[in-house]
C-alpha cells in the first residue's frame, strides 16, 4: 500500500469533520473520493498533506508515518496536490509557478543561489524540468504569462503541472474538473489517465462529475458527514443503495428519473 489512512478522526471543537475513516491506496491506481458538500473530502486531503493534524488515528505514506509531519516534509516524501479554489502564485509567471513546485527536489542549499556560476547551473536544470511539466499539460507556449491571466481551465492545468514537476509518488487533485465545460473535462480525463499510465503516478481525486468519476477511477471511496459510507469499484458504487441515497438523492415516485 502506498498510502494507508487508519481510523483517522479529525474534530474542530465539537464538529467532527472526519470520523474514523480508513482508506488504503495501492500504488499505481486512480482512486476517487466522492460525497456531498461538507462530507469531509477536502479535510481528508488536508490531513494527508499535513495542513491539519489528525485528532486520532495514523496516516502512513510509503512506509513512513506522516500524520505529525509538516506540509513541506510530506511534500518532500512525494505527495503533491492541487486546490479546490485555484491557488496559483499570482505575481509569478506560469513557468515560475511550476519552478516553485520543484522546491523540495532541489538538493542545493539556499546559499548556493548567491554563488554566480553554481546558481545558473541549478536554475538551468530547474527550468528544463519545469518546461517538461508544462509540455505535459500543454501550457509550454504560455510560460511567460502570469498565472492569474490564464483562462480558468488552463489555471487548473497549471496547478497540475506545478504538482507534477516535483515528481511525486502520489498526486492529490481536488476537484480538477470543477467549472470546466464538457470538452475541457474530457481533455482533463485523458490527462489524468495519461499521468497514471505513462508517468506511473498514483492519483487520488475529489470530483462531483459522476461521468468523470465512473470513467476514470479504479476504486471509489464515498464519504458523508465525515464518515466513510461505502467503497468499491465503480460498478459496485453505482448500484449501492446507501450511496444513491446519500449522494445522488432518493428517487421520488413520479419524479424525473434522469435528474
Amino acid at each position: 500500500m502506498l498510502l494507508e489512512i487508519n481510523h483517522v478522526t479529525k474534530s474542530f471543537g465539537g464538529v467532527v469533520a472526519t470520523n474514523d475513516v480508513s482508506v488504503s491506496v495501492p500504488e499505481g491506481k486512480i482512486l476517487s473520493i466522492i460525497g456531498p458538500n461538507g462530507a469531509g473530502k477536502t479535510t481528508l486531503f488536508n490531513l494527508i498533506t499535513g495542513a491539519y493534524m489528525r485528532t486520532s488515528g495514523t496516516i502512513t505514506f510509503n512506509g513512513v508515518k506522516i500524520d505529525t509531519m509538516k506540509p513541506y516534509e510530506i511534500h518532500a516524501l512525494g505527495v503533491a496536490r492541487t486546490f479546490q479554489n485555484i491557488r496559483l502564485f499570482k505575481r509569478m509567471t506560469v513557468l515560475e509557478n511550476v519552478m516553485t513546485g520543484m522546491h523540495s527536489r532541489i538538493k542545493a542549499r539556499d546559499i548556493e543561489s548567491f554563488i554566480p556560476g553554481r546558481s545558473q547551473k541549478i536554475e538551468a536544470e530547474i527550468t528544463e524540468k519545469s518546461m517538461e511539466a508544462l509540455k505535459i499539460v500543454g501550457l509550454d507556449g504560455k510560460y511567460a504569462e502570469y498565472g492569474a491571466a490564464l483562462p480558468y481551465g488552463q489555471q487548473r492545468r497549471l496547478e497540475i503541472a506545478r504538482a507534477l514537476v516535483s515528481d511525486p509518488k502520489l498526486l492529490l487533485l481536488d476537484e480538477p474538473a470543477a467549472g470546466m465545460n464538457i470538452n475541457e473535462s474530457a481533455e482533463l480525463l485523458e490527462l489524468i489517465r495519461w499521468i497514471n499510465a505513462e508517468l506511473k503516478k498514483t492519483v487520488i481525486f475529489i470530483e462531483h462529475n459522476m461521468k468523470v468519476v465512473m470513467n476514470v477511477s479504479d476504486y471509489i471511496v464515498v464519504l458523508d458527514h465525515g464518515s466513510k459510507i461505502a467503497e468499491g469499484i465503480p460498478k459496485e458504487i453505482r448500484n449501492n443503495p446507501v450511496v444513491i441515497e446519500a449522494y445522488l438523492g432518493t428517487k421520488k415516485e413520479g419524479g424525473n428519473a434522469d435528474a
Binding site: Y72, A76, T100, D110, F114, T127, S166
Partner: protein
C-alpha cells in the same frame, strides 16, 4: 542593431545608469550636491534591504531604521572604544544587524500583515529607547561623535568624492545581489510565500525558515548602510534612526514598486532628491509625502514600476540557452 532594441535591454539601461553615477561627481563642484548624491546611494542600499522583506516576501517591516541604526551604532562603538578600522567594523556591524533582523524575524512567524507592522513598530521604538537610555555607553540622546573616517591605501576619505565611489561600489554590488534573488529558487520561495503562504507550504517550502532568512538579509543590508552612514557623517544620534525614517524607506519601496527591485531604486532616488528640492517647503514635507502616497495608490497601486514584467526576458534567454526549439514544441 536597432538602437531602440539596445536601449530596451536591462544590461544597457543598467550600464547607462552606472555610467551617469560614475561620471557625475566629476562635473559636480558643489560639495552639498555630492552630499545629496551620497545620501541617495545610502537610501538605495536601505531600500534594497527593505525590498527583500517587503517587496519580495511581503513582510511588512516598520523597524528598518532600527536595523540601519544597529549597523551604525555597532560600527561607531567599535571604532570609538576599540579603535578598530572601518573595514573590520563594517562586517561586524553587518552581522550584528543581521542577527537583529533574525531576532525580529522570529515573531514574524506568528503574525502577519498589519499585526506584523505593529510588532515591528514596537521593536523599532524599543531600539530607540535603548539608545537614548544607554548611559555613558551610547551617550544617550547626545549621540556619538568623533567617528573615524575609513582608511585604505592612503586614499583621502575626507574627500567626499572618494567616499562617494566607495559607497557606489557597495551599492552596485548589493543591487546586483538583490536583483538576482527573484531569479533563483531561493527568491521564488520568498515570492511564493508573498503570493500564497499556505500554497507555498504545500509546494515543499519551509515557510518559517524563509521568512526569518528574509528578515536577516534585510537587516544585514540595512546594517551595511548604517556603517557607511556613521563613518561618513562621523556623528550619530538616536534621532537619525526613528520611526520616520522607517516610513520614508517604506514609502520609497512602495512608490517605486515593491517586488521589482528596480522600482525601489527609482523610489529611493526620487524621494531623496525631492525633499532637497522642496527645502523651502520643509514644514509641508510629510504632507506632500502623504499626498504622493494617496495619489500613487489611486493611479499606480503597484508603484511607478510595479507593473513591469521584469522577469520575462530572463526566462526567455534561459530557455533559448536550454533548448533552441522550445517555442516550436507545442504538442499534447
Amino acid at each position: 542593431m536597432d538602437i531602440k532594441k539596445i536601449l530596451k535591454s536591462h544590461k544597457a539601461q543598467f550600464g547607462i545608469v552606472l555610467a551617469v553615477a560614475f561620471f557625475l561627481p566629476m562635473f559636480v563642484k558643489d560639495a552639498s550636491v555630492t552630499h545629496i548624491m551620497i545620501l541617495v546611494l545610502l537610501y538605495v542600499i536601505l531600500s534594497m534591504g527593505l525590498e527583500i522583506a517587503l517587496g519580495i516576501t511581503d513582510l511588512f517591516s516598520l523597524c528598518h531604521a532600527a536595523f540601519y541604526g544597529m549597523g551604525a551604532y555597532v560600527s561607531a562603538l567599535l571604532s570609538i572604544y576599540l579603535g578598530w578600522s572601518f573595514w573590520v567594523t563594517l562586517p561586524i556591524a553587518t552581522i550584528c544587524a543581521g542577527l537583529f533582523g533574525f531576532l525580529i524575524g522570529l515573531p514574524a512567524l506568528r503574525t502577519n500583515g498589519d499585526y506584523l507592522a505593529i510588532a515591528t513598530l514596537g521593536f523599532g521604538e524599543i531600539f530607540r529607547l535603548i539608545l537614548v537610555n544607554g548611559g555613558d555607553f551610547t551617550r544617550g540622546p547626545r549621540g556619538l561623535t568623533g567617528i573615524a573616517r575609513p582608511e585604505l591605501f592612503g586614499l583621502d576619505f575626507t574627500n567626499k568624492n572618494v567616499y562617494y565611489y566607495i559607497i557606489l561600489a557597495a551599492t552596485v554590488s548589493i543591487f546586483l545581489v538583490v536583483y538576482n534573488i527573484p531569479r533563483t529558487f531561493f527568491g521564488r520561495a520568498l515570492m511564493a510565500i508573498r503570493d500564497d503562504e499556505a500554497a507555498a507550504a504545500f509546494m515543499g517550502i519551509q515557510v518559517s525558515k524563509y521568512k526569518v532568512t528574509a528578515f536577516t538579509l534585510s537587516g544585514m543590508i540595512a546594517g551595511i548602510a548604517g556603517a557607511f552612514y556613521a563613518h561618513y557623517i562621523c556623528y550619530i544620534s538616536p534621532d537619525t534612526f526613528v520611526y520616520n525614517d522607517s516610513i520614508t524607506i517604506l514609502t520609497m519601496v512602495l512608490i517605486g514598486g515593491g517586488g521589482t527591485v528596480i522600482g525601489p531604486v527609482v523610489g529611493a532616488v526620487i524621494l531623496t532628491i525631492l525633499p532637497e528640492l522642496l527645502r523651502s517647503f520643509v514644514e509641508y514635507r510629510m504632507l506632500i509625502y502623504g499626498l504622493v502616497v494617496v495619489v500613487m495608490m489611486q493611479i499606480r497601486p503597484m508603484g511607478i514600476l510595479g507593473h513591469l514584467n521584469i522577469r520575462v526576458s530572463y526566462l526567455e534567454r534561459r530557455l533559448k540557452k536550454n533548448q533552441p526549439d522550445s517555442r516550436k514544441g507545442k504538442e499534447v
